[in-house]
C-alpha cells in the first residue's frame, strides 16, 4: 500500500502511520463491534425475530424512534432559527450564547438527566407552573422528548451556521432586485441552499437521540410499554443475564445507526455540491 501515498510526496511515515491507524481501529472498534454480530449469529432466525419483536420491545421502538423523530423535528425548526439569529443579527451576549449552544456536547448526560428531571418535576422550577396546567413532563413520555431535544440541540445549529455564514449576499440582493419580497427570497433562495445542512443536522440529532441513555432514564419514568426506551431495555435484559436478547436488540439498533450514518454521509456529499 505504501506506493500509493509515496508516489507524489517526499513525506515519510505513510506505511507505519496507516498501519497503526488500521490496527488500532480494528482492535478498539471493528473487532468489538463484530462480536455483536457473531453473538447474534448464534441465535436461530426464529429466536432472533422473537427477541426483537416481542411486544415490550416493539413498544420501546415506538417510543424511542417516535420521540427521537419529534425531537429532531423540533431541533430542526429552532436550530435553523437559532443559527439564523446567531449569524444575521447582533445582540448583547451573542458570543456567550453561541458558545453555550455546545453545552449538551460538553455536559455529561447523567448531569443533564438529573437536572432536567428536577427542573420539570412537580416542585421544580418549571414543573410547578406546568403541572397545574395539566402538562406533566417529568416521568412521562414527554420527559423523553424534552431530554432528546436537549441532547440533539447543537447539531442543526452547528450544521446550518457555516452555510449561512458563507451564503453570498449578492444572491439575496439579486432576488430582491428581481422583485422578490423578503419571505419569497427566504423560501426560494436561502432555504433551498441550507436544506442539505438542515437535513444533515436533523439526521445527526435523530441518530443521537435514538441511542441516548443517560439523560433520558432519569426523567422518563421507565414504565415498560409506556416510557421505556430501547437502550434501557438492552440494559434490563443484560441485568437478567439474557445476553442473547440484549445482543439481538443491540444489533437492530446498530444496523439502524449504520443506515443513518450512510444517509448522513450522502447528505453531506450533497451539501458539499452546493458549497463548491
Amino acid at each position: 500500500m505504501g506506493s500509493f501515498g509515496k508516489k507524489n510526496t517526499v513525506l515519510p511515515g505513510f506505511g507505519p502511520t496507516l498501519g497503526y491507524t488500521i490496527f488500532y481501529l480494528s482492535i478498539i472498534v471493528l473487532i468489538p463491534l463484530s462480536a455483536l454480530f457473531f453473538k447474534t449469529a448464534t441465535l436461530t432466525w426464529d429466536q432472533f425475530v422473537a427477541a426483537v419483536s416481542a411486544p415490550r420491545v416493539l413498544a420501546s421502538y415506538r417510543i424511542t424512534f417516535g420521540s427521537a423523530l419529534l425531537a429532531a423535528g423540533v431541533n430542526a425548526v429552532f436550530g435553523v432559527l437559532a443559527a439564523w439569529v446567531l449569524v444575521r443579527y447582533r445582540f448583547p451576549g451573542k458570543k456567550l450564547i453561541d458558545a453555550l449552544v455546545d453545552l449538551p456536547f460538553a455536559l455529561p448526560t447523567a448531569v443533564a438527566g438529573i437536572t432536567l428531571a428536577s427542573v420539570y418535576s412537580p416542585d421544580g422550577w418549571l414543573g410547578r407552573y406546568l403541572v397545574p396546567l395539566g402538562i406533566e413532563i417529568a416521568f412521562t413520555p414527554l420527559g423523553i422528548l424534552v431530554a432528546m431535544i436537549f441532547i440533539g440541540l447543537p447539531f442543526v445549529v452547528r450544521t446550518v451556521q457555516p452555510v449561512l455564514e458563507e451564503l453570498d449576499h449578492e444572491i439575496e440582493e439579486a432576488a430582491s432586485c428581481l422583485g422578490a419580497n423578503r419571505w419569497q427570497t427566504f423560501c426560494r433562495v436561502i432555504f433551498p441552499t441550507m436544506l442539505p445542512a438542515v437535513l444533515t443536522g436533523f439526521a445527526l440529532s435523530f441518530a443521537r437521540a435514538v441511542g441516548e441513555y443517560g439523560s433520558i432514564i432519569f426523567i422518563a419514568g421507565n414504565m415498560p410499554m409506556v416510557s421505556e426506551i430501547t437502550p434501557l431495555l438492552i440494559i434490563t435484559k443484560l441485568e437478567q443475564y439474557d445476553y442473547a436478547g440484549a445482543t439481538a436488540i443491540a444489533t437492530v439498533m446498530l444496523m439502524f445507526s449504520f443506515c443513518l450514518l450512510l444517509s448522513i454521509n450522502l447528505l453531506q456529499k450533497w451539501s458539499r455540491r452546493f458549497s463548491d
Binding site: V10, L18, L25, V101, A246, T247, L261
Partner: protein
C-alpha cells in the same frame, strides 16, 4: 429603519432593508431563539449549581469529601489520564496518514473512525461485555487466569476509549488537510528528519486543533455514563466514576449531594466550552493568516 441600534448594524452593513427583515421581525426572531436556548440550555445549567448549594457551602463540601465520592473522582481522573493520551496519539497518527497522503479507501476509513459516535453508548458497553464478560469470547480464559476486565477498572477504561475514539482524529484530519504539505516538504528538502519536521513544522500549525480535540475527548471521557454503566458493575468505592456516583446519590434521594457531585462535572463542561471557544478562535486566526500569506 433609521434608528441605529446594535441589532441593526449587521443588516445595514449588507445593504439595508432589501436583504434584511423589518425591525419587529428581527426582535421577534431574536426573542424566540433566546427564549428557546434559555429554556433548554441556561436554565438547566443554572439549576445544577443552585441545587448543589441548596443546603449551603458546608453541606456542599461535605458531600464532596465522602470517601465514595473521592474514590469516584480518582477513578474518573485515572480513566481520563489513560484514555486521552492513547486517543491523542492515535488521532495524530491517523491524521498524518489520512491528511498528508492520498490512497484509495480514504473516505471509508474516515467513516469507520467516526463510527463510535453513531453507536449508542449502551451498545458500546455491551460489545465489551460480549468479549470479556464471563459468557464472552475471552471470558473462560480470563477467569482461568484470574483477570477481571468487565465489572472492573480495565473495562471502564476500554469502554471510555471506544466512546472517545474519534475526537482528536476527526478534528485534526480536516485541519491538516487544509494546511497542505508544502511546509513539511520544504523542511524535509532542507534536511530535517521526519520527526523533526513533525515537531518543528506540523505540530506548531495544529497545536490549537490538538487542544480542541483533547479538551472534547477529556470532557466525554470524564462524563461518559451509558457505556461505563454497562461495564462497571457499580461497586461503590472501587468501580464508580463520577457520573455513576451521581446516579447512585440521586437514586438514594440525597439530591443535594447528587447535585454537588454533578456540579463538578458541570464546571468541567463550562471550562471545556471556554477552552473550546478560545481554541476555535485561534484555529480560525491561524487559517486566515495562512491564507493571506499565500
Amino acid at each position: 429603519m433609521h434608528v441605529s441600534t446594535g441589532f441593526q448594524k449587521s443588516a445595514e452593513k449588507v445593504g439595508g432593508s432589501r436583504v434584511s427583515e423589518p425591525a419587529w421581525i428581527r426582535y421577534l426572531l431574536i426573542t424566540i431563539a433566546l427564549a428557546f436556548l434559555g429554556l433548554f440550555l441556561l436554565l438547566p445549567l443554572a439549576a445544577v449549581f443552585v441545587q448543589a448549594f441548596d443546603k449551603g457551602w458546608e453541606a456542599y463540601l461535605a458531600a464532596l469529601h465522602e470517601p465514595d465520592t473521592l474514590s469516584a473522582i480518582w477513578l474518573t481522573l485515572l480513566t481520563a489520564l489513560i484514555c486521552v493520551p492513547v486517543n491523542l496519539f492515535f488521532g495524530i497518527v491517523a491524521a498524518w496518514s489520512i491528511a498528508k497522503f492520498s490512497f484509495p479507501g480514504k473516505s471509508l476509513l474516515i467513516t469507520l473512525i467516526d463510527l463510535p459516535f453513531s453507536v449508542s453508548p449502551v451498545v458500546s458497553g455491551l460489545i465489551y461485555v460480549l468479549i470479556f464478560g464471563l459468557q464472552g469470547w475471552l471470558g473462560p480464559w480470563l477467569q482461568a487466569h484470574d483477570i477481571q476486565i468487565i465489572f472492573a477498572v480495565p473495562g471502564i477504561v476500554l469502554a471510555t476509549i471506544f466512546v472517545t475514539f474519534p475526537f482528536v482524529a476527526r478534528e485534526l484530519i480536516p485541519l491538516m488537510e487544509s494546511q497542505g504539505r508544502e511546509e513539511e516538504e520544504a523542511a524535509l528538502t532542507l534536511g530535517a528528519s521526519g520527526l523533526q519536521t513533525f515537531f518543528r513544522v506540523t505540530f506548531p500549525n495544529i497545536k490549537w486543533g490538538v487542544l480542541y480535540g483533547v479538551i472534547l475527548c477529556n470532557a466525554r471521557a470524564m462524563g461518559e455514563f451509558g457505556a461505563v454503566s454497562v461495564v462497571s458493575g457499580h461497586v461503590r468505592g472501587s468501580t464508580n466514576t463520577i457520573p455513576l456516583q451521581v446516579e447512585i446519590l440521586y437514586n438514594e434521594y440525597s439530591y443535594a449531594a447528587a447535585f454537588a457531585v454533578a456540579s463538578l462535572l458541570a464546571l468541567l463542561a463550562v471550562a471545556t466550552l471556554a477552552v473550546k471557544t478560545v481554541a476555535e478562535w485561534k484555529i480560525q486566526q491561524s487559517l486566515s493568516t495562512n491564507e493571506t500569506e499565500r
